[in-house]
């Protein structure tokens, strides 16, 4: 089969990445160790120590080693001529940590000469290893001494019961030292993800990756998937929300008053189409406006009407407008976040009922999986919608904003429609006609999401959005690739 036929169509916002299991990671390390072991003709243990010392940069290690082997071995604590680290009994020695002295007290020091008794050294190391999860970069215990304890010394000092944890931590350095590798941040997941995105690219792409465990996260900042908003915006937005949390607190409340009869209404599903139990008034939870205006071309719940500058002359009016503007976007952001959770709740409740329903209706487990797909689509789309509002908050108006808002509106309307169907009682869900409608709507939501993300990603890559804030990362931390 020709190669290009096997590749599936790539969308603009896709980024290439690979997921590695713990076994893959072990094998990669072993391969590198074997390679260095052969090329430099040193033992595997020494090769491992050198590789860790060089942060797994094999090329640099080999180059440096060829240049000045003595220096390299020395720096990694492997120098043959210098005395190998060992425990010593020195007459008159007093340990500065425990203040013990006495004949036969074994002590140890690394190259700086700061000497402590072996018990104190071991206690210190076990605390670092067990409690702080540190292994490859533990400093000398002396006040103000930052010399790193080399691997050879650690090998001597680390007691057998700590060895396993110690090597586990050492193994982690392979992933942690490489800019292209990251641990999957999902709890209990042991996988690592490889992605070649560079820091300076983060103004142009949102590098979302998906681990084999299903967790989707941003390779740039480790947060949960935040497309279409670039990492810098996410950071600023989260900071802003934290700073303004009090102002915005009332929004995340689960109850509001009906705009018509003022009776209290509780939100217990993801859907924003609210109907007051008392007066049957139908309204939108987000903007509190009439719901009847939401299904039509008049829909503009997502859009913030910028007031003209002349209206807001004085500082007070300006700050009120800027607060209103923030609340508009924050309200919608927080609402989608909350709704995604509620949608998930509903699914879990529904799932139980579906088991029951299966028995009664004779639908197979496979046949009810469309609800699972709908639930996943709702959550993924709401996650995207949520971040479109942070994105929009920082967006400066230009000719592209309207297209963006239209895409946002289309996705939002589709999601709300699906959400509403999803909340139907189980007996109605069993209707095969509704099943088809839900499946269609699910596919439509996913399609709208792709369209929105493609559009935003493309414009981001081409630098066509203008933001009210600076997206470039401050400071010269662009790494080796930052050439002027």
């Amino acid at each position: 089969m020709p190669k290009d036929m096997m590749q599936k169509k790539k969308v603009a916002y896709d980024i290439s990445f690979k997921v590695y299991t713990p076994e893959d990671i072990q094998k990669q390390q072993d391969d590198l160790i074997n390679e260095v072991n052969m090329i430099l003709d040193i033992s595997k243990e020494e090769a491992a120590i050198l590789l860790r010392h060089f942060r797994w940069n094999k090329e640099r290690l080999i180059e440096d080693y060829m240049d000045r082997p003595r220096h390299v071995l020395d720096a990694a604590g492997l120098a043959q001529s210098s005395r190998l680290p060992r425990l010593e009994v020195i007459p008159g020695f007093v340990c500065d940590i425990c203040c013990e002295d006495g004949d036969g007290l074994e002590s140890f020091a690394i190259k700086c000469g700061h000497r402590y008794c072996v018990d104190c050294y071991r206690h210190y190391l076990s605390q670092k290893i067990v409690e702080e999860g540190e292994a490859a970069r533990i400093q000398c215990p002396a006040d103000g001494c930052s010399l790193i304890i080399d691997a050879r010394s650690l090998d001597i000092l680390v007691t057998s019961e700590l060895k396993e944890r110690y090597f586990q931590l050492l193994n982690r350095t392979y992933v942690e030292d490489k800019d292209t590798l990251k641990w999957c941040p999902a709890p209990d997941c042991q996988n690592a993800v490889e992605c070649a995105v560079k820091k300076k690219d983060l103004e142009k792409v949102v590098p979302t990756v998906a681990c084999a465990c299903q967790h989707r996260f941003c390779f740039g900042c480790n947060n949960n998937d935040h497309q279409p908003a670039p990492c810098r915006l996410v950071k600023m937005w989260l900071q802003k929300c934290a700073d303004d949390s009090e102002t915005a607190n009332w929004i995340s409340a689960n109850t509001k008053e009906c705009p018509k009869c003022n009776s209290t209404i509780e939100k217990n599903g993801g859907c924003n189409h609210m109907t007051c139990r008392k007066c049957r008034h139908e309204f939108c939870w987000m903007c509190m406006g009439l719901w009847s205006e939401h299904g039509t071309s008049w829909y503009n719940c997502n859009r913030f009407e910028e007031k003209s500058g002349t209206e807001a002359r004085d500082a007070q009016a300006k700050s009120r407008v800027s607060l209103e503007r923030y609340l508009h976007y924050y309200n919608r952001y927080a609402n989608h976040e909350q709704s995604a959770r509620l949608d998930k709740d509903i699914y879990q409740k529904t799932e139980k009922k579906m088991v029951q329903l299966q028995r009664e209706s004779g639908m197979s487990w496979i046949e009810v999986q469309y609800l699972n797909s709908a639930s996943t689509a709702l959550q993924t789309c709401r996650q995207t919608l949520m971040w479109t509002y942070a994105f929009a908050f920082y967006l400066a108006r230009n000719n592209l904003t309207e297209i963006f808002e239209d895409n946002q509106k289309d996705l939002e309307m589709a999601v709300e429609a699906l959400s509403e169907m999803f909340e139907k009682p189980v007996t109605e869900l069993a209707d095969p006609k509704l099943k088809v409608v839900i499946m269609d709507k699910t596919a439509y939501c996913n399609k709208r999401r792709v369209i929105l993300l493609e559009d935003t990603a493309q414009n981001l890559a081409e630098g066509r959005w203008s933001f009210s804030v600076d997206l470039t990362t401050p400071g010269p931390n662009g790494g080796s690739s930052s050439r002027r």
Binding site: D96, I97, C98, C99, E100, Q127, P141, A142, D143
Partner: protein, 181 residues
């Protein structure tokens, strides 16, 4: 384990030859892990003329674990919480920076230097830090008012520092968690 000998030695050293402007005492002679320190406000600082109390609590695993040190006297300072707990933000006292060979004496000396030269770039009280940076006069006025109000006469060691109740969690923990707005 080993900590008893080390603590006795440090205590003897600190009582015989106390750090500048300080007096060390034990509230309970049988408990070497709790010290009371009386600190005179350094003459070249806004705290001159005040006398401050410090609680020193040494965890069971001292010196491998960070000592906990808090002010028992209210003090107006960017790096000390402006409340009854008197937590201090000091690099030396952060668990990840603590070294077992570091002496209580050096920590106490560092706290005294912090009174002479606050570190507004790593504040616990952001507002006071701002004031220190941008309106030094006002800061000094407020610091002096606090001295007059709280730090005259023999310091009281009444309040139980919140951190002293806990085991391993150091002052560093509470200070990182409390970074004010």
């Amino acid at each position: 384990m080993a900590s008893q000998k080390r603590i006795s030695k440090e205590l003897a050293d600190c009582t015989e030859n106390p750090p500048q402007g300080m007096r060390i005492s034990l509230p309970n002679d049988s408990d070497l892990h709790k010290w009371h320190v009386t600190l005179e406000g350094p003459s070249q600082s806004a705290y001159s003329g005040g006398t401050f109390g410090l609680f020193v609590t040494l965890p069971p695993d001292y010196p491998f674990k960070t000592p906990q040190i808090t002010f028992s006297t209210r003090i107006y300072h960017p790096n000390v919480t402006n409340d009854a707990t008197g937590s201090i933000c000091l690099g030396l006292l952060k668990p990840e920076q603590w070294k077992p060979a570091t002496r209580i004496r050096s920590v106490l000396e560092a706290i005294r230097s912090l009174l002479v030269e606050p570190n507004p770039d790593d504040p616990l009280e952001a507002r006071i830090a701002d004031e220190y940076k941008n309106d030094r006069k006002e800061f000094e006025k407020n610091a002096k008012t606090y001295v007059t109000r709280y730090a005259k006469g023999t310091p009281k060691f009444e309040a139980v520092p919140a951190a002293a109740a806990g085991g391993s969690d150091g002052v560093g923990d509470s200070s990182t968690g409390r970074r004010a707005n």
